[in-house]
Symmetry: D3
Subunit: 300 residues, 6 copies
């Protein structure tokens, strides 16, 4: 079970302007094979499926995977809100359908943002293909699952880098910068888990791909604050033993890894303006009387 | 963001025995079009995508959808653990691959439970087809989204009924009985939301399909305790106004609907035994020395 | 069985010009989840699958679903011809492949219109993804199927509205205007069916989404003629009892619903010019002698 | 547009008994790549997409394709009713869900027949995979489309043969026997169309695969009556010129091909019994009072 | 088993410039339903699956299919290298991710070329949809499989023609010109196989679609050299009897068909420049010291 | 380009008997996410897509990937022939379709083996889902691609182990035993490549999953002969430098890795008997005269 908080992990700046194709590209980080839906669902299923977790030698690995799964939920939020902010204002606001409020939408790469949704995100990739459960790997063998997760996070890292490189939009850069750092923690976490499990030293593999987070200004500023060293212990009581795996020096800069209890503070989710031409949300859309009646029924 | 709890909503009894095809059938309730992945993801995306939610007349609807999304996370756990328990022991335990420990698996309906996973659940349906993001509907229009959700919950109810009817296994029945009741609350919640939004009275539509939860012994016992009347306010501070929508009499038995703060108590997740023939989890599988070394590295 | 007529339901004006991306967008109304392929196939399968239809209380519902299915066939025609007209002339006519007749096609959103088809429609959506049988819902429970259909028509209505809003092209507007009205009849029909079945009054739910057909000039002119009140009894003898369900006042304007026997008059399908650069149709393409020989073989 | 008739093309005998896996296998002929959904939709789209059809030398080909499309609608009915009859009675009838009415369903190959539908057909193949618009080929080039159709019908013929060979069930055999004959007419029709178009003589290719319809008793009896020689001119006025293509001797037995106006007589669709354990249709399921009220509302 | 050669069949000229959307369109010829992945895999599976091939009358057909399969491997190379050359230089080279090296990529039709791959091909079509095993037809019946192959090659020919027509880019034209000729040989080969098998004369069907290869300058020059007459006997010893099928006059120009032993000479594959902004390949990307160490480890 | 040899890598014993469901399970190793289609296509695309391969430090990695790709072609053959042998004789041979030669097929897990193919393999997995190009990963970053390949081979190893464990059939065991050894070489090869590229030591990760090849009798006998130490240099001239990467001690038993020039000797492919009830291959099926005519046309 979860307790959901009406807060997102980091404060996203406003976009430099509406950007429909930018939003379409960012979808890769949400619903792509290496998007946040994949990290969320891989670790969620691996944790629910973890056999033999009650053994003393197994529990820290379970705690780690379950704990990272919890953080990923916050990541689908960040990517989704980035997409939603980019899509805000990408068509002409108004209530007259005959005024062509969606003129030009037919030339956007992702028409589903306008036809299927109300200028908001959907669980699909940058080609508009839906996320699929095929993206979940859960073999039951811990070593293989950890290797998968290490690879998945490296692949996710490559995607974030490349989406970052498409744009100077501040929202996209803030989001990818943050996720490069937090995803970077997960790369390290899974490498450490493999190391603790097998005794191998994977530190020379870093970074994958061959470019440091420090090369990304929005990531560098966060790493300068040490955000790449911290694993948030989502629920200190329930996932108590993550620190038995997540420990030692960071493979890239050698600073000590740290476990911190609780969630990041976060902020309230960004405001999403109405798009009346899409009747989104359309509450009381036809006339004011309707709205008054809704209020009355709410207050009753 | 979420806080994840290492507890599941209800105590699942042990299955009457290993049952691979039973597990395959239950997958419908996890990864089918009307499975819990769908309810979880529909409401999660609708809440993140809710435009204009800051308006006074909109917020209670946002709170309701966000809040129900949070409960659905607990439902994917229940279905997943049911599948995992059914699959436990469905092959022969042992470490000698030449002893044919998976003999007979080729005749099971879902071979991926054994080849792709470690006798555990995956996000797919009862035909082994993966859950897809196409199952998420998020039009941005509140009335249409609520109508969708009302339909989705009714469709989900039909699937639970039918899976229930396949078996007398206590785990499956306890799980479906519980979900019929809790899903029933969501049917009511979305009907009430449509009623508050439009003034229509949908109570005569109940129940869909045309059979009462009371006909299911495992559901009836819970309804006798009033569980069908309660909406858990997942996070009382953040989703404060759900009660402005979820109120009034239950459409079927006329008892007053209630909002209750916090999560159900829940219990620790069921223990999942190791399946060594699948090296699940395979920690220290080759010899005891390995295991000792792992322990040493954990304790370091 | 069907008798097919070489006529389409309404006279489509010519487009303001060739428009490849416009055609790509309109595909949503043909092969999208809420497109006419979905309405056609849902009702066709539900009618073929209707158990117990021979009971007196069931037959009017069967007649209604079967009858609406028949009308939907005419709707896939209208959307298809709209797409075909928009695609006509979108490349350069000619028989010399070296003259780059398809120059620029690589920048169109839907390349399959040019590579897979002869500048004509295919059963796919506005993202170029094929229609799928997964879009068919046929649970066997009448109430649930009717609720689905009511939702499906409302979702289809939202899509038509949004495609309408993308353009001032006369063909697209005439087609969507007509389908908003006819689809509107189906929304009413399924609401009435639910009402007759359960006694609930759904009229306050209208319209979904929250915008009236009267806001669309091309729809308004048809509603002024009362087209939104008429259910065409496709085959008066075979689906005789539709009027036991489709009756009473229209939920939006209160005018009496009417059953009218037979099909709309319709008109001959629009002419589709040849596109020789695609050898569409390519009959006798290589030289005139070929054409003469074909004629001879036809006349033999 | 179409006029739909509440009749099916041929009288199907009752199955020798309920047969869930038999029904699952027959799905191939409905929603498989070479199933009737494919023939119906290929020819429907090719006819709507036919460019330059108004030319004198083109029209007979258009008429042929449009006309065969119309017959295929009747074929999806026959396969669907066969499946529905096979599924009738495959679970235990009753209204008590706790009595395990669907016991054993978990071992059936197609669980969606019971969970997603009410023991009836869905547009999927024998592996439970949905029919897809990818199965539609419509290149716009007449010769290529005809070659495709010739191949499609031969592939469909192979599938019918193989499904026939799985069983001695009278319903399946009657249906496949009939469709082998009628599909055989379509093989001939497309071969003749290619011959008229190009002058090639394809008769030596027959039969594909290398087995005659006469080897199937249920087909032979129909061929003895000459049913393999007749093309039904679905709408004599609108598709007047089919006979300019469909003419000459049958390639296998040399008898003259014939065009016959109108549809086969057909019979009323088979009765499909209720399956109350699936609330299919569930009209008035809870009590008799409900039923009386429905009747009252119908009669009002 | 195969011996792989580091050579491609024909020398591709450099593109007139980087062309991301051009590359996206060419993908149809690689991963489309009628792309080279399909021809390769259809014939590969048909050859491995060929039952009864050891019979004297069967072996020449087996040899033919197996032999053509081998040539198709070279065709996926040619299409892939064309795509890779077109994508080379489509973004800004450099190592600073903050310099927006991928600016504008969000407007390209295929974002996966930049996010999922390193500006190179993937097995997908021009709409970005992955190639699927559903494209493989292998019925086991030789006549039906040959008919399929004949149709597949004609469909592939249509696609090549249409992609050719989109552009005057020299790489695309050289590639499509070459493949039109070589694919043309395969059309003839499968027609001849059907003729030898059945005695039918298919020569009047040519060409499909109705335009000659000679109309394409880059194909004509190759046909003037007789390349359309030659079947390369990939492995003279192992597929010795192809000439018993591939013989007689070419159906279009009447020149004698020829079997030639061995592969075309071919040339070294084109050089593909590095794209450092995608860390492709990223070897020693961080600093020179890394590169020296790699060299040392290689030489060790 | 390739030269194809009509030989398979290893001599497969005959199965202990026909086994349709066994064949269905083995499909996972052919068309599953981790099947041989995936290894073949991943490395083939990665090699064609390798940017900067002409640099001295890059070429050995290119040679390695290209070379392993070539071996994988031989592996799809082995899995395919295993499936084909298992399917041989799974229905009743004969030419009378009315004798129910396919009786019981409706209860087999994979009906496409009988309806779509002639009791032979298709590129699908053990759930009957087609292989997809989505399974190809080719990021362009060498380190990431190598990590992917290392993971892919470990995942493939897990699948082979589990399929092995389902059966004591000699064909399946011989095939999986051989592929465990050869796939094991590829695991080592990609680990070595990562080590040479980065300097990391991955040997302690072995084996993944946690069970040695020596535990499989059919693999052990081959490892005793040293087959797990040999990389076959498929084309010594063209992929000359593989030995700069594939060298050093085997990570599990410490024996020296070896590069051997050329292919394994291999043997002729297994004979596949005809299945006349499926007209596979159906050459001259109708009567002997046909067969004589075919022979005449071949010899002409």
């Amino acid at each position: 079970m979860i307790t959901r908080h009406d807060r997102v992990a980091v404060d996203l700046p406003m976009p430099s302007g509406p950007n429909a194709n930018g939003a379409a590209a960012v979808q890769e980080l949400l619903g792509g094979k290496f998007g946040e839906m994949s990290t969320l669902m891989n670790y969620t299923f691996q944790s629910m499926n973890f056999r033999g977790r009650d053994a003393a030698h197994a529990r820290p690995f379970y705690d780690l995977i379950a704990n990272i799964a919890a953080e990923e939920y916050g990541h689908i939020e960040l990517v989704t809100y980035t997409i939603n902010l980019l899509l805000t204002g990408t068509s002409t606001r108004g209530t007259d359908p005959a005024a062509e409020p969606l003129a030009g939408v037919e030339n956007n790469r992702n028409t589903h943002h306008f036809i299927a949704s109300g200028q908001t995100a959907l669980p699909m990739d940058s080609m508009g293909r839906p996320w699929t459960g095929d993206n979940v790997f859960s073999s039951g063998n811990l070593k293989l699952d950890l290797l998968h997760n290490f690879f998945l996070e490296c692949g996710a890292r490559a995607n974030k880098i490349r989406v970052y490189e498409t744009t100077d939009d501040p929202t996209v850069r803030a989001m990818t910068g943050y996720l490069l750092v937090r995803g970077g923690v997960h790369v390290v976490a899974y490498a450490r888990a493999l190391e603790v499990l097998t005794g191998a030293d994977l530190s020379k593999l870093f970074p994958i791909p061959d470019i440091s987070n420090k090369a990304f200004p929005e990531a560098k500023v966060l790493e300068d604050q040490g955000l790449h060293l911290i694993l948030y212990r989502n629920n200190p009581k329930d996932y108590a033993r993550v620190g038995e795996v997540f420990k030692g020096p960071h493979p890239e800069d050698g600073q000590p890894l740290v476990v911190e209890d609780g969630l990041p503070d976060g902020v309230a989710p960004p405001l999403l303006e109405e798009e009346p031409q899409l009747t989104a949300p359309g509450i009381g859309a036809i006339d004011d009387e309707m709205l008054r009646e809704i209020m009355k029924r709410l207050e009753r």
